[in-house]
Symmetry: C2
């Protein structure tokens, strides 16, 4: 959490849905910490497997994550790997009136759900291996402020 004076960022990404993109999550979180404090830094950890967190039970995780969503100024979701939790969180965040940006890598060969792609409340930013992630983080943050 480098810039603790900046906005509080809820970074949402797949856990139970699969961890194959975890290195992307870690790199994006690292780039985002230059713009604000990331409440959910654990999402990028290589130690976090698809069997979830060691320790807290499901109700504790749910309660904590919803509290973090309420605290957050902005929500950035990595949506390339399909995930029930990410879909749930972006819907809740939009319902709370939070700005939501979804980051999607078309080169992974998946189709993005119409519930995200066709949704006027979601900004979608596409990126890929050729992009500098500092620049992707900057585009995400400026999309939030209407840029």
């Amino acid at each position: 959490m480098t810039d603790s004076s900046g906005p509080r960022i809820y970074f949402s990404a797949s856990i139970s849905g699969g961890r194959e993109d975890a290195p992307w999550y870690a790199a994006l979180i690292s780039a985002l910490t230059r713009h604000g404090s990331v409440l959910t830094e654990h999402i990028g950890s290589p130690d976090l497997s698809d069997s979830g967190e060691d320790g807290p039970g499901d109700m504790e995780i749910y309660t904590r994550d919803i509290a973090w969503l309420h605290e957050a100024d902005v929500v950035i979701a990595e949506v390339t790997t399909p995930s029930l939790g990410v879909g749930y969180e972006v819907a809740r965040a939009a319902g709370m009136g939070k700005p939501v940006v979804c980051l999607f890598r078309p080169e992974a060969g998946r189709r993005l759900s119409a519930m995200i792609r066709g949704n006027p409340a979601m900004r979608v930013i596409e990126y890929g291996a050729a992009d500098d992630l500092e620049n992707v983080a900057e585009r995400a943050m400026s999309a939030m402020s209407g840029g």
Copy 2:
């Protein structure tokens, strides 16, 4: 839509997230039509691939599906295959005050997201290959009515 006098059921299941469970969706929809009208019968179609529906664009699909969610009396989601759209829909449905039941097959070897499993607004029913789907549909419908 066999029982058009019964409740309107929004059946939610993975499309873009993967269609490997499509035969389960078709069988569950068939069992549910004995209890009410299923607004989203196309979700069970073997012709529907993970590249989505032929025809309507993403905004049309989003607008139609949200209208169906508003119309629905109950929402039944098959949550075994991780899906952004399903996660999004169950969050929206719960936000609208609709009863939501999530059907999950542990034998598929996946962990169910804490956003569903730890969520007091979601009833989770586990089932598997040994279960009669007529009975699973009945359990889902009676869970809605507080049974």
